[in-house]
Symmetry: C2
Subunit: 415 residues, 2 copies
């Protein structure tokens, strides 16, 4: 059994019209009117595919395809909200590939043993309402409904008010699940698969992330009359720290380290910067190694302070612990791809996804489709039709394996 | 003969009231109403000191004290305009110490052989009307009157209109000079004298300055899903360049190098910077060495580009050639200080001053008074009363030496 690639691409194309940008991307912020239009279209498609559609108290839309057994379902999920001027595939691909799986099973007249559910999560991106992955986090018990409803966008509008305005405030009883297994298909958003020449990734888990704010205080002097040995240049100290973060991350297998944001003061051409603030983002699949990375950053900061006469403060203000996915679900995905003759590579996701919270609820895993140039969260985001098809076929096969086909043993338990 | 320190400080205190800021500094932008009030006070003081006051076509105010001979004058000059929230001494000190020299000569009943002129230059700072040192440059023939009058501030108001508004548009025939020698006393604005424990500096010249704009283009990727070896991080490349500029400047005697301004894009915590723009300010007393410094910067940029996979463009967009002062005037200042028992150190000014342009017109030199913590262009700018007194006494003695006293040979030709 294979998905209908033409139908998948046509659905992707139609959904991408809602919130389309002149630059070829999409702006469809969570709970905006564009999100409502997209939800309406998705709901119509789900109903046309004979799914039983329900909307929960966070606006999550679930479409259920009954199995021969009742009880826990196999979920396939992602999101249709986007960042500003984002791409056509981030999120939408996972939702519409899951829809395509349902349509393909309908075409083939297959009944699975376990029920299948397609879930569209509300506000995955977190660009309109912080934090990201808000509704899956709430379903997993990380956030209370009051917290979720009270989140405000930059105009001061609340999540709760917008959810009611677009008509997607449903019932608590309509939350997804109960869940036997959770699968999330997504574009990679990184260059690993392209670099390796492989179409599909099997995701071992979501790395741990820790954010620190660095404040460097030196002395703002005239660039002219200040001989080099008498300077306390905050930006030179910052530069040595940025290079050091890069060195540390390169030295530890699987680690990444990024200084994304930097501000120098007074930031004029002929004054030595007296103050620099910058961010450090460190990621690793292992919690203890993440702590070691931060310790390395702190040692580096203190060495640079001692050598250059500036003060360097490191404030580790946020950490998201690593989330390894369930080995049996990751293996099921890998087996499914092998059975389809699709080559895969296993690696950790460097970015967060709803699957991070869902792993708390049920055994979970993710599937990645190769991205071109590793680009996402921009209009240039792209994956080839062939790779999108391959990823969707892996989702189909994995879902079938986990749900089982009426009268068969579940495929992932075969030989 | 010694200046009256009390009177000098009292004048400094009174002038600093005009445009005084809550933080203890002064905002007295060129040709502002505050500048007019300060000019009015200065003109009154000059007239009270029996100087013959004239105002030229750029608003420069000259007060002349006749000598026993007519002909070329010895000029003592600086400026009373300030930066925003600047200090009380930058500029004002040089003007009021020159006034104090005139008053001291009056008190002593001394007539010099050459005339003495006190000059207040218009718009030295260049913060309201760019470029800096506009009026001295115009007197030296670097800028045409049309260019000067057409300069606009950030509200679009022209120099010419503001000069007329405050009533200080005078006559071309009233420009300073003809000039036998030019002396400019100023606070150091750097830490050299304080570091050396010496009150007064004798300035060899104004260093050459060259400004370059650096543009680094890498690739903006998600901070998470991008393994270190596959990144093209513009900020890491920038960091290595900033550290390299620091290293290069430290390696060459007398050089300084500063990255004062940096902007990273998109400048968010979880995205690898795809683009960085930054400035490089390089200074050295020798023109060929300045070119060598820029060549070193360009080599470094190309090495970093090759090693990190980013592109680095270096655009050297402005150069001010080094200006060595006239040896005989520098020597006269040094001799004057020695005769007063005031210890001095000779060094190059890292910052521009009106003396840079006046050296084109007549043999020139500068005197620096020690700054505390090297601070200037800020409200914390400070020099001790003792150091300000010492600097003014060196100005007095040097001016007397260069102008000669009626019936004596000029002092700098003695011994």
């Amino acid at each position: 059994m294979r998905i209908n690639a033409h139908r998948l691409h046509e659905s992707l194309r139609q959904l991408a019209r809602i919130g389309a940008t002149p630059g070829g991307g999409v702006t469809r912020l969570a709970l905006s009117s564009e999100d409502r239009s997209a939800r309406d279209l998705l709901r119509r498609w789900m109903e046309e595919a004979s799914l039983r559609v329900r909307v929960d108290d966070f606006g999550n839309i679930t479409g259920r395809r009954a199995g021969s057994e009742s009880g826990k379902a196999v979920l396939m999920a992602s999101h249709i909200d986007t960042v500003r001027r984002g791409g056509c595939y981030d999120g939408a691909y996972g939702v519409l590939a899951a829809l395509e799986v349902m349509r393909t099973l309908n075409d083939a007249g297959v009944t699975t043993r376990r029920p299948l559910e397609l879930v569209n999560w509300t506000n995955e991106e977190g660009v309109r309402f912080e934090p990201a992955m808000l509704a899956s986090g709430a379903v997993a018990g990380r956030f209370t409904p009051e917290y979720v409803y009270g989140r405000t966008d930059r105009d001061g509008v609340t999540f709760g008010d917008e959810l009611e305005r677009i008509g997607y405030k449903g019932d608590r009883d309509n939350r997804p699940g109960p869940v036997a297994a959770y699968l999330e298909l997504h574009v990679e958003q990184g260059p690993v698969l392209e670099d390796a020449g492989i179409p599909v990734g099997v995701v071992d888990g979501i790395v741990g992330i820790t954010w620190s704010e660095i404040t460097i205080e030196g002395r703002a002097d005239h660039a002219g009359p200040s001989p080099m040995p008498l300077r306390r240049d905050a930006l030179v100290a910052a530069a040595r720290l940025i290079a050091g973060v890069d060195d540390i991350a390169r030295a530890i297998e699987g680690a990444v380290g990024t200084v994304g944001r930097i501000t120098a003061e007074p930031n004029v051409i002929n004054t030595i910067p007296g103050k620099v603030t910058m961010s450090v983002d460190l990621r690793h699949p292992d919690s203890a190694t993440l702590d070691r990375l931060v310790a390395g950053l702190e040692r580096l900061a203190s060495d640079i302070a001692a050598l250059t006469g500036v003060t360097v403060a490191v404030n580790r203000f946020w950490t998201s612990e690593p989330t390894p996915f369930a080995a049996e679900i990751v293996d099921a995905v890998e087996t499914a791809a092998a059975e389809m003759g699709i080559s895969t590579r296993r690696f950790w996701s460097g970015a967060g996804h709803d699957a991070k919270y869902m792993q708390d609820v049920a055994p979970s895993a993710m599937i990645f489709a190769r991205s071109i140039n590793g680009l996402s969260h921009c209009e240039q985001e792209y994956s080839t039709p062939e790779d999108l098809e391959a990823g969707a076929n892996v989702l189909l096969r994995a879902a079938l394996g986990l749900a089982g086909i009426e009268g068969e043993r579940t495929s992932h338990k075969r030989g």
